[in-house]
Symmetry: C2
């Protein structure tokens, strides 16, 4: 039907027909001509309708509708150097963690008339640099990016960009501009404390992907155990692979095999791994929580409903997205923000999987 009909354009019989209907994109000027006003007035009807008298406004709007005019955002952005675009860079599209943050971002940005240009960095700082370059070429008015492990070059042109930037997910010592996140290390530490408090002794660790935030959780785990003289590096099992329920089951099996079952608790860096471990434990007829505690991270919905229910660390992902987006909007509107750094906190949801009877 459509799609690349360059040919059709060339077939036009010389310069005969003025312009075949719907052949050419209609512009502001077309609308202006059709409604008998100047181009700038049409522009105002679209962008500052309150500055145009009601009669004219209606008249112009009628022309816009009947012609099916759709403004060219590129021309508008070029002329006004306002793109109404916010760039967002996340490491993975398929991770529910980021999906929910995104939801928060979209909610706020949509309500404020901003489009979101989203890129996926695949957990690679180099890819991230490339992607952020792409984002910047769209002249975004603000940027939301994940974590703090940008390349030097990237930090460099980010600083020069002169737009509000929020780094999300983790708390950074020295953010580029603004920062919203929570303390992954402390969360890991607190999880261990909780397990110890429940009377578990030999606490294993299961991790996948091992991105910076997962590493921090592991450091917290390590620190807590070291402080009690209970750290044993043999109880740590990790893989660079992405997390999944399947991987969780495999890592759990491998942990149990390599430790001959001395482990009586497992801290999984996310709920997928934890569910995998739980399901695998059930298949191995290990009694959770009597013989084994399992703790996850992120508190996805399934954690509360699975049997036995899964202890997990709840973090306000949606709220984090909302907060980050809101900070950008506030800065763009020159409203004050309380702080450049926001700690969203977390909460350990204590459930059956870590409660010895």
């Amino acid at each position: 039907m459509l799609a690349k009909n360059n040919s059709q354009v060339q077939i036009l019989p010389m310069k005969t027909a003025k312009k075949r209907l719907s052949e050419k994109k209609i512009t502001l000027v077309d609308v202006a001509n059709a409604s008998g006003v100047s181009a700038i007035t049409v522009s105002r009807v679209i962008n500052q309708p309150e500055k145009v008298s009601e009669s004219l406004r209606i008249q112009v709007q009628k022309a816009i509708d009947s012609l099916g005019y759709i403004p060219n955002q590129h021309a508008s952005s070029l002329a006004s150097s306002k793109s109404r675009v916010i760039g967002v860079a996340i490491p993975s599209l398929s991770n529910i963690v980021f999906t929910e943050v995104l939801r928060g971002i979209y909610e706020v940005m949509g309500a404020n008339g901003y489009k979101v240009l989203l890129v996926d960095t695949h957990y690679s700082p180099l890819e991230e640099e490339k992607m952020i370059r792409t984002l910047l070429s769209q002249s975004p008015e603000g940027l939301i990016i994940t974590g703090g492990d940008q390349t030097k070059a990237c930090q460099n042109f980010l600083t020069k960009a002169r737009i509000p930037i929020v780094q999300i997910m983790e708390l950074l010592a020295d953010p580029i501009d603004m920062n919203v996140g929570f303390a992954h290390g402390r969360a890991g530490y607190d999880v261990v404390k909780h397990l110890i408090g429940q009377g578990y002794e030999r606490i294993g660790f299961i991790g996948a992907r091992m991105d910076p935030r997962v590493q921090q959780r592991m450091q917290g785990y390590k620190l807590a155990l070291e402080q009690m003289g209970k750290f044993d590096k043999n109880l740590i099992v990790t893989t660079p692979e992405p997390s999944s329920i399947g991987v969780g089951g495999e890592l759990f099996k491998s942990l149990m095999a390599s430790t001959n079952g001395v482990v009586d608790a497992v801290f999984c860096v996310n709920d997928d791994l934890a569910l995998g471990a739980l399901f695998e434990a059930q298949r191995m007829n290990i009694n959770v929580p009597q013989d084994l505690a399992i703790c996850g991270f992120n508190d996805i919905e399934a954690a509360a409903y699975v049997n036995p229910s899964l202890t997990s660390v709840s973090v306000g992902r949606y709220e984090m997205g909302v907060k980050a987006a809101d900070m950008i909007i506030r800065v763009l509107n020159e409203k004050p923000i309380e702080s450049r750094k926001v700690d969203m906190g977390y909460e350990i949801k204590k459930r059956v999987s870590t409660s010895r009877l």
Copy 2:
């Protein structure tokens, strides 16, 4: 540090300094001056490097890097009427179904140098119309949208857009342009056949959100039972709320309560609902699959790992995204496509939750 330093601009001491470093955005012309070539040559170095001699290319590239030049995509798009943007409209960001389709789309589009502008229509045709209008104002070179229930107005300007468009998720009788999906009605029909084949008799239905595709699954369910004279509308429990594990549990309880437990199988329109029903059944001490079969839809990862494993309908979501993106790319490159309509099919993954011993 940065963020809205308009003030700084005005503070500039008259016209003293030529231009404070990094005060003004640097453009193609700046790069041209810095490297002693014309603007158009710089443009070529960026867009058609093979047309520039190696020596010049290196020289220009050096200037680009040292100045930290980032092209203005709006100007480029305006001048060339090529945006390198593909618009994507999905009904929900938080639904894993769409997330995986998105992954496929991003994969292909990224590899081909296209950016993705993503909007969320919240399952509302009116919102969709607004959002697609927004997309079109970015002059995307192609569009991927969900389903076929666009408003008349929307269909209208979509048809006029003269760009390749793929409608995804479901099979449409009369697509706007191209179409990739699978037959939801037939899938629902086949699920019932499978349950009957396993010896289950009274098959309930649990549905949430009830978007067009869920409705089609329900119609398939209904048709199959009607053909066997076993349809009973009292066995259908639905809600307009979004799906979730929690809602699945609630609907299951309500189904069991209203039917006094005569139901011996439940078809849930997605796996979240099915997991909710399964977990709830476990809490009610109902034996799955002996006393009750549960079948989900989408085959999310948990389905294969939960105990008992959950029968579900597997659909190639990632592949659907890849396919849709690939069709767009092919059309843009004027390569042939096999067909305007592609049926991705589906497969019922028969697992323990529907296998009577």
